[in-house]
Symmetry: C2
Subunit: 289 residues, 2 copies
């Protein structure tokens, strides 16, 4: 090695070892406040444990996700943190690589991956209980994407279960794929509120949707929180910079990010980790309720 | 090679070539809406040209930035996109690596790096001209960080130049480092407005500060845009989800991101690129003016 003026570096080490220290994070929208916050925490957690984070902004394009998956395999990535849907679960089994799903749907039992979610069901329950306690009797939930199963759907289930238990009316509406991709919900929200003028409380499945609900309420002349009460989800920066600020269900993003990296490290060393981890959420009251 | 069952992969190719296809992006806050939007565009631009993006969330910690710089060198990274300050410019000269500064201050002539900025000065001019045209006569600018030179300071210069030309009063205030790091400006803004009750127009150096200015105005009972007019900067998602929406100076983030990657590719191949590139901005009127 000396004769060849060989300079050891990380690439060479990665070649000689089974895995490199690169974790690939695949998210649908880097600029979505939840994923931006998640990536920030993931990078912190990765750096603390000696890993580096490679970023894939999938925009839910299956080709792009698969390209990154293939690159991860050929480069001996330490593991993949997968927040994107549109991946056939049985295909994941073929990849000989630690994969952690974060808030990703369609996981199949025995597909060889592990999943980390926040307690979406409990979050929905907290939101409903809070709105009912604040006096709402005609509730609306803006949920996930029409026709697509996602862990976030459990938010609506918890929400409607509490409404049913309390004898309060509750409607769940989902947006189409395009609305979700563009992150632009105003037209969808406005139509919903025009059709249901009796609505007095809304649970939005993200702070981003909640912020746009505030905009529609202003346009319709509904004062918040007097005429309409609103609860968001995620606990992102968005909830704290709107006027009024948004009551939100906080996901423990920092802890979830640490768990992702810890799980990949353990899987790399052949240790057992739980198939499914659910992390607790909490409601933070803002000015919107 | 066949005898050794040698499997060619990207790591091996990177070892045998001068550079890998990894670009390292060093940003101060991944979860800041501007940097989240920038990273999204950077990943798109990188993927389109066959590069991968490694993410460093520096939090303005010089040790962390240097660690990533060192890793970039030892791993033959294709180049570094540097949005972080706190790096001694003369040290950059020692790194034999393409470095593109994006909205980064303290670049020294001849430090061997190239810089890409939006036209911050023109953005400040547009903001002042718009507020004056809308009838404001006592203007305030919430600028960068006290005691720290940044390209964004040029926004305040353009702003005050137009005010002087028009004979309109104008004050520039900067926040302390801690306020900037926490992205929490409400106390700073409230004190400014209590001390200057005659203020009728505000130019904030980010949409994030503008959103928090809306909150303070609501708390003080100032209606926007009637009593107070507000212009932000960046053109992020934030400006479009507040109530009212924020008039903002849009940075051409997508084009700037493409230029970053193009410049690194050209520098990698020994081509000449301009030392400094300034990209045009434009004002998008929202409901806040």
């Amino acid at each position: 090695m000396e004769e060849m003026h060989y300079q050891p570096n990380e690439l060479a080490r990665a070649l000689s070892m089974r895995r490199s220290n690169t974790i690939v994070a695949i998210v649908p929208h880097v600029s979505h406040p939840f994923f931006a916050s998640l990536l920030s925490s993931l990078e912190d957690a990765a750096a603390q444990r000696g890993y580096r984070l490679l970023l894939c902004n999938s925009r839910e394009q299956p080709e792009k996700v698969w390209e990154y998956m293939a690159t991860s395999v050929s480069n001996n990535a330490a593991g993949i943190i997968l927040c994107s849907n549109n991946i056939c679960p049985s295909c994941l089994r073929q990849l000989d690589l630690p994969i952690v799903n974060l808030e990703r749907g369609e996981k199949e039992d025995g597909d060889g991956t592990v999943s980390i979610h926040c307690d979406n069901y409990q979050g929905g329950r907290l939101a409903a209980a809070h709105l009912i306690e604040r006096g709402c009797r005609n509730l609306l939930h803006f949920g996930g994407i029409t026709g697509k199963r996602m862990p976030a759907d459990r938010r609506g289930e918890g929400f409607s279960d509490v409404c049913r238990e309390a004898g309060v009316l509750c409607t769940i509406l989902t947006a189409d794929q395009k609305t979700y991709e563009l992150m632009s919900y105003r037209a969808f929200i406005e139509e919903a509120l025009r059709r249901r003028p009796e609505t007095d409380g809304i649970f939005a499945s993200s702070d981003l949707i909640a912020a746009q609900t505030l905009q529609v309420c202003a346009a319709l002349g509904y004062s918040v929180p007097e005429r309409m009460k609103i609860v968001g989800f995620d606990g992102t920066l968005v909830a704290s910079i709107t006027t009024p600020t948004i009551t939100t269900v906080i996901q423990p993003v920092q802890r979830m990010a640490q768990l992702c990296v810890e799980h990949i490290e353990k899987l790399q060393h052949g240790e057992l980790v739980p198939d499914n981890v659910t992390m607790p959420v909490r409601l933070l009251q803002g000015e919107s309720t």
